[in-house]
Symmetry: C2
Amino acid sequence: MKEKEKEEIVKKGVKIIPLGGLEQIGMNITAFEYEDSIIVVDCGLSFPDDEMLGIDLVIPDVTYLKENIHKVKGFVITHGHEDHIGGLPYVLKDINVPVYATKLTIGIIENKLKEHNLLKSTKRKVIKYGQSINLGCFRIEFIRTNHSIADAAALAIYSPAGIIVHTGDFKIDYTPVFGQTIDLQRFGELGKKGVLALMCDSTNVERPGFTMSERSVGISFDNIFAENKLHRIIIATFASNVDRVQQIINSAVKFGRKVVLEGRSMVNIMSTASELGYITVPENVLIETEMMKNYTDDQLVLITTGSQGEAMAALSRIAASTHRKISIKPGDTVIFSSHPIPGNERSVNKVINDLYRQGAKVIYQDTHVSGHACQEEIKLIYSLTRPKYAIPVHGEYKHLIKHAELAEKLGVDKNNIKILSSGDVLELTDEKAQIVDKVQAQGILVDGLGVGDVGNIVLRDRQHLSENGLLIVVVTLEKHSNQVLAGPDIVSRGFVYVRESENLMDEARYVVNGALDKCLDKGITDWGKIKTEIKDSLSDYLWKKTKRNPMILPIIMEV
Amino acid sequence: MKEKEKEEIVKKGVKIIPLGGLEQIGMNITAFEYEDSIIVVDCGLSFPDDEMLGIDLVIPDVTYLKENIHKVKGFVITHGHEDHIGGLPYVLKDINVPVYATKLTIGIIENKLKEHNLLKSTKRKVIKYGQSINLGCFRIEFIRTNHSIADAAALAIYSPAGIIVHTGDFKIDYTPVFGQTIDLQRFGELGKKGVLALMCDSTNVERPGFTMSERSVGISFDNIFAENKLHRIIIATFASNVDRVQQIINSAVKFGRKVVLEGRSMVNIMSTASELGYITVPENVLIETEMMKNYTDDQLVLITTGSQGEAMAALSRIAASTHRKISIKPGDTVIFSSHPIPGNERSVNKVINDLYRQGAKVIYQDTHVSGHACQEEIKLIYSLTRPKYAIPVHGEYKHLIKHAELAEKLGVDKNNIKILSSGDVLELTDEKAQIVDKVQAQGILVDGLGVGDVGNIVLRDRQHLSENGLLIVVVTLEKHSNQVLAGPDIVSRGFVYVRESENLMDEARYVVNGALDKCLDKGITDWGKIKTEIKDSLSDYLWKKTKRNPMILPIIMEV
């Protein structure tokens, strides 16, 4: 090989292509590409924004992966939260490559694959901390971290262009409930070897100090159990926080209470965690909901979903007295072991107020810790890895900016800090980092069974209908003469309470008749024009009368 | 008068009737009744909940006042915030009685009355702190307090049954920006005389300690101005917080900057505050937006509405690049002098992210203080007034409960703490407090010009339409034979993107034809039954195909 050719090979960069996770919260998915190899880290979903009316969830657009399907070697998953795995069942239908993750993560993914009938067709492999896998020209090492779900991993991605460290979601817990502390030594070793780029969690970058240990919540539980010995205790938390549930069970055992699990996702994840050995429940502690009647209130703890005030979750139904099996008794102590995710404050408050109204005592302070690193932890990871490039990930834009400011203070060259947008193709070499391309990376909306069939026009119509309702005007015309044979009939929904607005409706019919007469007089026979005339005159009339702007749908039938 | 009759008169109680403000946030309005006198404290509006689709605002139902109109002597208003005055223009149309308030409050009310053409028909009277008015058998004294708007008052309501102290919204500010500290001495004097009941603000009852002085924000402003001397400064805050705007102007003058006011409500309230002497602006400091081009960035401060991320407010439009006159330049320093009201977090975050994307520096910490009393302040008011009865007001149910717990700790007998619901009629005497009746007190929805014409059915339809969209099926039948003459035509909105779902629509038409044939075969001629058949078969088909449940509207025309 000639000197010149060699040089060119050395200068080839690794491409980092976030296909989601930077414009929205959630939906984390990032492709890493070098020559003919692509690996994909995480494949999450996100929940719809307020304006995505009727949408169930949003999944990543993987057009770029489809177009390069021959290069794609596998999905490497950092941990089992929805925003990192939820897109898999949808994406695997098109990109059927193996999935690599730690044991609990694979267990949770398998539950999803079962639901989508994909278990047989999907190759998956459990990877241990410290273990590496080779995928094309990449080697990926799984590094132990701490998070609000067990078995979370950071990844060291060895590419011909250098090592990229991806933290996944993480915190530093020196006294974790399950397993060991994040493998800080390995981060240090990698730093000594030389880290090309660090992609680090930004979620809590605005918070100074250190995130408290998960174990501190267990101490709070013990105190609350000790102070509330006479009544039933109900604790709402995230189904996936196995360590949290473990600590509730520990307190229950200590205080001689039986434990009931409520909510489908809670039951599912606990059964997986228990099978795989991530939670230890002494015999005869867990009981079925139906068995509660055999125990007194002071012998019971309920662990339930619904800590975010989700309308259909167990706790919300209990609070609203619509749960079939459980209702609040005065004296019940209800603990929210969670913080409201931004946007959920009102729903959570509603549930809290409902619980108080039913006579419960509600505790929602000092009963939760975050799963994400605060400033001092982020600083520590930077100091151990000393990356050449910093690429902040996981967070809204404001978090990425604050993270960039922090990285600069920690000694990363300002020009080497890259804030990316979804779809950016960043090419990294030891010499330079530049955005070389832009690929398709919008979220795809899922509504019922429909994936991608609801777009902006449908959403705009839903918005219009939701705010103003609609009026349908139907008229049957004679084929040749355009004379009115039947109608105009006006049907409205979501506009006004019709019985109290009969006058308005009568006048609206009058306005439509006027519009039809006008068209007939002028000899207008084009249906499009007739419809526009009806729409405009009715719209003007209604705005004048009501200052509202319902959707108006003229329909012409011909006989 | 015989002894017995006298005794009966003495035992007659004063009635306290909250007509709003306890089920929702906002919409504060409370009637006080004794024999043939009723006075009404505040008359606010509330903003719609998330499920009140398309609703502009919610006003109180004053049916009880209408039914007792001959008794109603006047509205007594504590301060000029929307949740205390916003209902007035609607309610005054039915309950045309005089309005009493302090000077700035009356000024702000007059702006509203002008908009609604009610200025001439409404009697109003400015009351000074310390002054009393006699309304029927009540005497009402206005007491100076501090709040996030100037001229806020607490009320001492003297009734034949005893003195009721109503704090309104308040905090204790020992170093207020305008005017003086809350009249703590008067609270003490009243306590010595004997207070029957205290109705005290609960908003911040969950927060320990003391609310910081408004003046502390001014110090933050000075620091931020000193640190950002080169660029333009934009500050978003509540239009009604005149003291906040005063402090921004003070900093601007100190640092030699001109001030631009942006947003209709900001300009309106500042002009009222300035006319009435509640704000001092040196000459040549305020400039018009159009004049900005004559100054360099370091010579300018913009004060704007939109601190809650309201989509149509000035700041949101600036951030989204849709403001006609102002756009963000890299380096602009944008300050949020506010906290997001629960439920607004997402919208506020969106604006912050947009601003960062445009290159602004955004500051949203330590630039706001609350206008409401924290625990230590509430304790102080209880210790000064030592009421027999405590009636917590202003807050969600959880706040009222925490307030009740606090009152008990402060020595109020548990049985004398009354948590009310809107519509409760509480009768108070020195001997006992009991709920003796329940009156109508739901909120009334305002949508455009319509007051009360949107009810639950309309809202349910809007909800249904917003989540699933609709399908309209139109068919023209022959009068006697019920043979199909035209159609079925299917029109959909907000359901699926029709161009990509042609098959689905074809099959839907096939399903409808099947339903029509079935009816014809069975000799069913009742339109109601035909519509039900169409609806049910189409609904089943669409659910099977899409797992969605659009509204289906069959319309039959007859020729």
